[in-house]
């Protein structure tokens, strides 16, 4: 367990035991077996240091800064922050001191210097409506900027549900025509870290992986790191046993709710939401929505905003009348069309009628 990272940590007063403890916790959060924590600590501590800290460019698009808030709230002086110290954040509008042309210069300098090697983090969705005019930075639409910056990136991290899946800007009726990063960029590895906001440790976990192995962690079919999004909230929820026993809170103030029973019937989306809230928790491990007595909103899932209502139980239909008027119109039109065809056919048969005479009864 020797290496530049552990040395640099040591210089900052972080002891080996502290680092081991951090890795054990990180492994637990990533749902890895306890033994993996030690392995990770050894691998990360021994990771060869690049001659230069890896460059990271952070582009904000149609977003609320909630993702940045989430990360920075935990930034210092925690261990996640220490991981951040291992990178060079060359462009982050909210955090950087530079502004205007200086900021733009910093961006272009970083892109040029680290061409093909920098990690691009995006938060916020990209509006396509009105040629992208809904969101512009430095006279360029987000779409243009993304395409330009993505070109030289080693990989892209879509931070938060907006960048990963379109998020709230994409919610019905999606006035700006918002889309996700992966809707636009097809030729770069993209790692989605959805959540509204995402859990900070997921971010640092991915960065840790990137720093340790120089590659992205294993991802699921929605481009999310499996370590954090491998299981549902429901799978790791401490209230799960009550679900299995059929004990449900029916209202937010009934006895079931006071006894901490399952919130499924109050609309908890935990069963269909892949995230690590149940293990990692929020606000420095203080609590998380279900522990606070509220069901999961499913914020890390695509289109969670339009999934039929936060307080509607999963067993209730989401929005079955969505296309009903269209269907009714199509059905009526088809019916009327058939009617006309039928009446035409019947009319034709009628006008072709030859009055039967006796002779016509025989073949």
């Amino acid at each position: 367990m020797q290496g530049p990272l552990i040395d640099s940590l040591a210089r900052q007063g972080v002891t080996r035991r502290t680092f081991m403890k951090y890795c054990a916790t990180l492994a637990s959060m990533m749902a890895l077996p306890p033994a993996a924590g030690r392995a990770m600590a050894e691998a990360m501590a021994a990771a060869p240091a690049a001659t230069k800290r890896p460059s990271v460019i952070w582009l904000p698009f149609q977003e609320c800064t909630g993702c940045t808030e989430s990360i920075t709230r935990s930034h210092s002086p925690t261990l996640e922050g220490l991981i951040f110290d291992a990178i060079s954040l060359d462009y982050q509008e909210t955090l950087m001191a530079a502004a205007g042309h200086q900021a733009e210069e910093a961006l272009h300098a970083a892109m040029k210097e680290n061409d093909g090697k920098y990690l691009l983090i995006v938060d916020g969705s990209i509006p396509l409506g009105l040629d992208g005019a809904y969101s512009c930075i430095a006279g360029k639409s987000n779409l243009e900027t993304l395409k330009e910056v993505a070109k030289g990136a080693f990989a892209i991290v879509a931070m938060g549900s907006c960048a990963a899946f379109g998020g709230i800007p994409k919610a019905n009726p999606n006035p700006t025509g918002a889309v996700s990063v992966s809707d636009i960029i097809k030729d770069k590895p993209i790692i989605n870290i959805p959540g509204c906001p995402p859990i900070p440790v997921v971010m640092t976990g991915v960065l840790a992986h990137f720093l340790t192995f120089g590659s992205l962690p294993e991802m699921d079919n929605k481009g999310r790191p499996k370590a954090f999004y491998g299981e549902t909230i429901h799978d790791r929820c401490y209230r799960r046993p009550f679900y299995d026993q059929g004990k449900f809170a029916k209202t937010f103030d009934d006895e079931g709710a006071r006894n901490g029973w399952c919130l499924f019937e109050l609309g908890c989306k935990g069963p269909v939401t892949y995230n690590a809230c149940a293990t990692v928790k929020w606000n420095g491990g203080t609590s998380w929505p279900v522990e606070s007595g509220h069901g999961c909103l499913g914020c890390s899932e695509p289109d969670f905003w339009d999934a039929g209502g936060f307080y509607k139980a999963l067993s209730m239909p989401a929005d079955p009348l969505k296309f009903v008027s269209t269907a009714a119109v199509v059905g009526a039109v088809a019916g009327v069309a058939v009617s006309f065809a039928n009446r035409g056919k019947k009319g034709a048969a009628k006008s072709a009628h030859e009055t039967t005479t006796l002779a016509d009864l025989e073949k």
Binding site: K345, K346, T356, T357, L358, A359, L361, K363
Partner: protein, 425 residues
């Protein structure tokens, strides 16, 4: 000699309408109609299930008038209707269906199966798949004037007989009479008492009436075979006669299908409402009874029962009158099980009695009537349809049951006091 499948299909396309579409879409194959059909109950053969008798019509409807049916025909899932198939169905549509309407009466989803059989027959006859017996009857009705080949001279001979026997005048072509009386050829040939009865009853009621030389035959074989053009031709004869004589009411004789043809189909066949009223003789008698114009004396004391003709009762809505009339002249009137609205058919209506090759089946089906009669064990059987009467007589003879059959009108007339003395006054 121009009947063809193509023509049949075209005619069917013409007659398929919203009720038929609705009926076929509603059928759940529950098979309850079979339980109501005497051809099924007496043979136990499921092919006589009423709705099954319409199978080719159903397929044609779906293939012609539904999107999915057209698609099914295109990809070969639904086979087109063929001549061979229709020939096979001839027995089901004619021999084993008397249009009695019991199936329509029991269908839980409300399918008027008889309505559909009637329309299906349009296509069957146009495609040359009507039975020879009925074609013959139609031929005779159209060319000679009556299905049994009765001509005016025969009627006149009957009139003469009656006038002589009863001393009552039988008016012919009397313009402005209140009633124009129609006959069925069976009555002319087999049951002359009918004409006499009418004369007595009309005389007692003090009503003016007449026969019509151009329209004395009421039966409509065109409707039985299921050909509206020919049925219209026959109805038109009656309409012309009635309008020529300016009568108020045309009286349909004791014949079920004549009544349906004239009363319910007539105006629709000729495409305009009638200028006169149409009544069944039983309706007229009922009216007279109610108005006190019908006075009888004495009662029959033997056990009598009444066979409701399907077209009069179930399909015609005349149910109470015949019972009141029966009770007027009988002390021992007993109802058969299912009598009235749900009465069982004699087995020979709807043209079936004209089909020679259907006789065996008819006799088999008659077991239903036999079982009804076996419950009551009547001394005599009264009815109000000459066709029923013939079929009942045949059936009773076949099963060696000694029960005479008579017409209700005659029975009533027998109890009308002798009026020859009044005549002189």
């Amino acid at each position: 000699m121009s009947a063809s499948l193509e023509k049949g299909v075209r005619v069917l396309k013409e007659v398929i309408d919203a009720p038929i579409a609705s009926y076929f879409s509603s059928c759940v194959h529950c098979g309850l109609c079979a339980e109501a059909c005497l051809f099924y109950t007496e043979t136990g053969d499921p092919k006589y299930t009423p709705i099954h008798k319409l199978e080719p019509l159903r397929r044609l409807y779906e293939q012609e008038y539904t999107l999915l049916g057209r698609l099914g025909k295109l990809v070969g899932l639904s086979k087109p209707v063929t001549d061979d198939e229709l020939e096979e169905w001839k027995e089901l549509v004619y021999n084993s269906c008397t249009l009695c309407g019991r199936c329509s009466a029991v269908c839980p989803v409300g399918n008027d199966i008889v309505y559909m059989v009637r329309k299906f027959r349009e296509g069957m006859s146009a495609s040359g798949h009507a039975p020879e017996g009925i074609i013959g009857a139609v031929n005779r009705t159209v060319t000679i004037g009556s299905p049994m080949g009765v001509k005016l001279p025969a009627v006149k001979a009957q009139m003469k007989h009656v006038e002589e026997d009863y001393g009552l005048p039988i008016p012919l072509d009397a313009e402005g009479a209140e009633y124009m009386v129609m006959l069925s050829s069976m009555e002319i040939i087999n049951f002359p008492e009918y004409l006499a009865a009418i004369a007595k009853i009309m005389h007692q009621a003090g009503k003016t009436w007449t026969l019509c030389s151009t329209a004395f035959e009421a039966t409509n074989a065109g409707m039985q075979i299921g050909n509206s053009d020919l049925a219209k031709l026959l109805v038109m004869r009656i309409v012309d006669g009635a309008e020529k004589l300016k009568v108020k009411t045309v009286i349909s004789p004791e014949c079920g299908h004549a009544y349906t043809a004239l009363r319910w189909e007539g105006a629709n066949l000729i495409g305009r409402p009638f200028t006169f009223k149409v009544q069944h003789i039983i309706e007229v008698l009922g009216e007279f009874q109610e108005q006190g114009l019908l006075k009888t004396e004495g009662f029959e004391t033997d056990k009598l029962t009444f066979h409701d003709p399907c077209q009069l009762a179930r399909r015609g809505g005349v149910i109470k009158q015949q019972r009141n009339l029966m009770n007027m002249v009988s002390k021992n009137f007993v109802e058969m099980p299912d009598a009235g609205y749900m009465n069982w058919c004699c087995g020979g209506g709807g043209g079936a009695s004209a089909i020679e090759e259907g006789e065996e089946l008819r006799m088999e089906a008659f077991k239903k009537k036999k079982s009804q009669l076996d419950v009551v064990k009547p001394d005599r059987l009264v009815t109000a349809c000459a066709n029923c009467r013939i079929v009942l007589e045949e059936g009773l003879e076949h099963y060696q049951m000694d029960i005479p059959v008579l017409g209700l009108t005659e029975l009533i007339a027998e109890h009308i006091p002798d009026q020859t003395s009044e005549k002189g006054a």
